[in-house]
């Protein structure tokens, strides 16, 4: 009873805190002064600069998926469906979850560390003193930038993953390129694609909210910043995986 109750308590306080922050983000979003430079800077940092990481992740995942599905499907003499399986897995599930986890590691942690440092060096207090709401100035652009950029990254990951699978199947397994491509799109529907992108947007929202929440409420100096950074990544990753389950259930 004890540990389970504790787990639920942690879960509820965590969700409560995040909801509160998210609420304040929504309240502040339409208010002036608008600062498009902040949003743009975050979009570049989170979106553009994450392209290489996401690219590599998707490429290798696509390639591994092709090998694995080929080895399994060949047992049923169903190797013609490798393309379908690889592309559907990428588009529906792997591209968005793996990209989200990479972004949690890359950007969620950065938000925890950056806002945490700003907190312990009184820069967040200084913002408040300079009549600037720190949530408006720091959190709003990060949350929106991540929410907007993650679907974009996942779109790229979809394409690259499918290409990785194609490369392995055609070059290594000797599959006919034309049949492989036909196979890839044979069973794919538009909803497969959109559901992945919608999930990506939600994951982006989660990652940024968690990262900012951990950083924003950091206490306890340099050690506190370290803790906030770790917690940002761990909490965001777990939250993404849990949300993935429920979203997948709802969206399909």
């Amino acid at each position: 009873m004890g540990p389970i109750r504790q787990l639920f308590e942690t879960l509820f306080t965590e969700v409560g805190r995040l909801t509160l922050l998210l609420w304040r983000v929504l309240v502040w979003t339409p208010r002036p002064p608008y600062d498009p430079r902040q949003l743009l800077e975050q979009m570049v940092r989170i979106g553009i600069q994450s392209v290489p990481v996401v690219l590599l992740t998707a490429m290798f995942t696509g390639m591994v998926m092709a090998i694995q599905t080929y080895r399994v499907l060949v047992r049923f003499s169903a190797e013609a469906y490798v393309g379908s399986l690889v592309s559907l897995s990428m588009v529906r599930e792997l591209a968005c979850v793996l990209s989200a986890l990479m972004i949690a590691g890359r950007c969620g942690s950065a938000m925890g560390a950056e806002l945490g440092t700003m907190r312990v060096t009184e820069q967040i207090d200084a913002l408040e003193v300079l009549a600037t709401d720190p949530i408006h100035y720091l959190v709003v652009p990060r949350v929106w930038a991540t929410t907007l950029m993650l679907p974009l990254l996942v779109g790229i990951a979809d394409a690259v993953g499918i290409f990785g699978g194609y490369l392995v199947a055609v070059v290594m397994m000797g599959t006919n390129p034309v049949t492989y491509m036909a196979n890839t799109f044979q069973f794919m529907e538009l909803t497969d694609l959109t559901s992945g992108l919608i999930k990506a947007a939600v994951f982006g929202l989660i990652i940024a909210t968690v990262g900012c929440q951990k950083g924003f409420y950091t206490t306890g100096g340099a050690a506190g910043v370290g803790k906030a950074t770790t917690q940002a990544v761990v909490t965001a990753s777990i939250a993404v995986l849990i949300a993935d389950f429920f979203l997948t259930k709802i969206l399909f």
């Binding site: 060096t121 820069q123 207090d125 200084a126 408040e128 003193v129 300079l130 009549a131």
Partner: protein
């Protein structure tokens, strides 16, 4: 030795209590600052001077007690109202608190840009003016990480005064500065007071500086104001705790701990046994007699 009020009351702190977990930092602080007055807060490290200053501007909320600025109870403002309310304040933090994502120019320009009242050339002119005041001309392009601690503090000071606010809060603006630079900052504070009738609260450890800029001094010790007087009154104070502090002696009654300090295992003795005092008072508070 009583202190004459010099104008309408700008800032009023009443019975402020603040604890962080078990640690009681402020234990019933009463303090008033009049319009146009320069108040200096003295006190040893860790007595809660910075915490007190953050209450004045609403960065920290008291566990109990009220902070009133210009007749407005800060607790009555919601987070959007208080953001606007803070336009009348300028605050320089103990460590500078410069934004390290921005260079010096943008740090000082930040408050100017946020008000949307100035155009580019006005901002540039004002930043240069502020940098000249703290004698750091030509550092506009430098990142905060390239500056020494003292320089960061002066930039933080320049940022605080950029908008010429009515109320200025300075947290140890001259610590770590050489005597000449300390005098420069003191002169800027006096100048602001003269030209803008700003109300200022300054925390300092530097007694020369304190007596130079203060209309009135208050000494904080173990979370309470134990003495409050004009510079003359402070210099001639018979209170052994005040004497120890302004004379800078290593041993004396300031080293004693109050009985209710949870981190203290010292026997309760000496003039620092704080028994609760009632009501706000602007008079110098005599130390209690030893039993």
């Amino acid at each position: 030795m009583s202190v004459e009020p010099t104008g309408p009351i700008k800032i009023r702190l009443e019975q402020i209590f603040k604890a962080f977990g078990e640690k009681k930092v402020l234990r019933g602080v009463d303090l008033q600052v009049h319009e146009g007055e320069s108040l200096v807060i003295l006190g040893g490290s860790g007595t809660g001077k910075s915490v007190l200053l953050k209450h004045v501007i609403g960065l920290l909320k008291p566990d109990s007690g009220t902070v009133t600025v210009d007749g407005t109870d800060l607790a009555s403002l919601d987070y959007r109202e208080i953001t606007h309310f803070r336009r009348r304040f300028g605050m320089a933090f103990q460590g500078g608190a410069l934004f390290d994502s921005m260079d010096v120019f943008h740090n000082i320009a930040f408050p100017l840009e946020r008000t949307r009242r100035f155009n580019r050339s006005q901002i540039r002119a004002r930043v240069e003016e502020c940098l000249a005041l703290v004698r750091l001309e030509g550092t506009e392009k430098k990142a905060p990480s390239e500056l020494s601690g003292g320089m960061r503090r002066r930039i933080g000071f320049a940022r605080a005064i950029a908008l010429e606010p009515q109320i200025l809060l300075f947290d140890e603006p001259t610590s770590g500065l050489d005597p000449v630079m300390t005098a420069v900052i003191d002169d800027v504070i006096l100048d602001l007071k003269r030209t803008l009738q700003s109300t200022t609260i300054t925390i300092t450890h530097d007694m020369t500086s304190a007596f130079r800029i203060a209309d009135r001094l208050a000494m904080l010790h173990h979370g309470k104001v134990i003495a409050e007087a004009s510079p003359e009154g402070m210099k001639n104070s018979p209170d052994p705790r005040v004497r120890q502090f302004i004379e800078g002696r290593a041993n004396g009654p300031l080293n004693d701990h109050p009985a209710d300090d949870p981190f203290s295992d010292h026997p309760a003795d000496g003039p620092l046994n704080d028994t609760p005092e009632e009501g706000p008072s602007t008079k110098t508070r005599p130390p209690q007699e030893s039993p």
